[in-house]
Each structure stands twice: as structure tokens, then as C-alpha cells.
């Protein structure tokens, strides 16, 4: 599939101070994730959403370009996301849409280059 190359970018996002109600509602999180994936121009080819007891949600999207995940902890107003792309997508756009949709007050990203044929195995950029 021509959108896939071994060189990938794996962006991890920390989202603090989010809206607890949204974080606990799969009916809002799933469309938000799909919208965010679309914003990054990703192609969703599979998905799983699960709600935990007593609270929290996981939403995983399989992309033609790899994956996009969200895990939420409503009790801590915290969510963790990661976006792995091996195409020319812009995962930051998806994660920023997630930040806005979850109303996060603190938002941190870490970008890790993956699939490097030579050392060092991981090339990291924080911001």
C-alpha cells in the first residue's frame, strides 16, 4: 500500500484538565476520534471502542497509515493519545482537534521517529 513506508512518526499526547463528562462518553469520543483522524487526512480501516467500569473509555482506530489511540480517565480529567503514522499525515492536527474537543487545559506532545534503518533506533522530539 503506497501510503505505508517503514519510516514513521509516533506522536504521543498528554491531555490534562479535560471535561470529565466527555471523557466518559463513548458516544462523543468515537465521533471526535473519527473527526480528528479525518482532520489529519488519515484513512480509518478498523476501530474498537470500549467503556471501562466504573469509568473511562478506550478508542482505537486502525489506519491505512497505522493507528490512532485514545485512553481516558474521567476521574482525573486526563486522557492519553497516540498517533502512529507512516504516511505523510499531520498527526498534530488530529491531536489538537482532540485537545479542543476534550477541552484540555494542559497539552503536551512527544514525537518519536520510528522505523529508522540505522541507529539511533528512536529519534525523539519533545515540545
Amino acid at each position: 500500500m503506497d501510503v505505508r513506508s517503514t519510516i514513521g512518526r509516533h506522536v504521543l499526547a498528554e491531555l490534562h484538565g479535560c471535561d470529565a463528562e466527555i471523557l466518559n462518553d463513548p458516544e462523543r469520543l468515537r465521533p471526535l476520534m473519527l473527526q480528528a483522524a479525518e482532520r489529519a487526512k488519515a484513512h480509518v480501516i478498523g476501530e474498537v471502542t470500549r467503556r471501562y467500569a466504573p469509568q473511562g473509555v478506550t478508542c482505537l482506530l486502525v489506519l491505512a497509515e497505522s493507528h490512532f489511540s485514545l485512553h481516558t480517565w474521567p476521574e482525573a480529567r486526563y486522557a492519553a493519545a497516540d498517533f502512529y503514522t507512516c504516511g505523510s499525515l499531520l498527526p498534530e492536527l488530529a491531536l489538537e482537534l482532540l485537545r479542543d474537543g476534550l477541552m484540555a487545559t494542559r497539552f503536551d506532545l512527544l514525537s518519536v521517529e520510528r522505523g529508522r534503518p540505522e541507529a539511533p533506533p528512536f529519534k525523539i522530539q519533545g515540545r
Copy 2:
């Protein structure tokens, strides 16, 4: 759910020099992933496996403790995995089983602490 805490550990694995045939076979990768998850004492509560055209496979497991993903590039004998756990699992055990099952000749791990209530947002350990 008591196995979940906001503090999590996200371990990224790079697997080079793998067996190309195995990397292209979802019928072998899916059971390998399930076995690896079990080795880490993870609880699988959802899953998606997709095969790409012309080659490559993605397998995503939703865990009670977060997620475990695998993306493969048979043409480059390369696979990328990540294991996010917010419980007391040992993701390294799962990733080492994956390394052996895929017959990787190069194996690198990066461990990122997630969900930290205070700065720095990401605490990283390579090896």
C-alpha cells in the same frame, strides 16, 4: 476498573531483521500477539487485525490495561510494536516474546512514563 491508574508506561519496540513470511501472515501474528499479551498478564477486551495490500499487517489489542499494537512491513523485515499499560504488567515480557516469535535480529525498546500529574510530561528511558 481497579487495574487502571493514570500513571502508565508506554513501551515502544523496534524489531528489525524479522522473518518476512511471518510478518505477512495475520493467522500467525494474531495468536502471537494474544500469547504475548497473556505473557505480560494483560487482559484482552477487544481486537482488530487488518492485512494491507500488497503486504503488511496491523494487529491492535484493546487491553483492560490500555493497548498493545503491532505493525509489520514484510518487505523490509521490520515491525513496530507498542504496549501501553496503566497496570502492573510487564510489557517487556510481551515484546520479548514478539521478538522471538518474529525472529528479529535487532530489537530496541523505549519506555515512556505517561500520565504524570507534574512536569516533565514525558519521562523517557531508552535501552
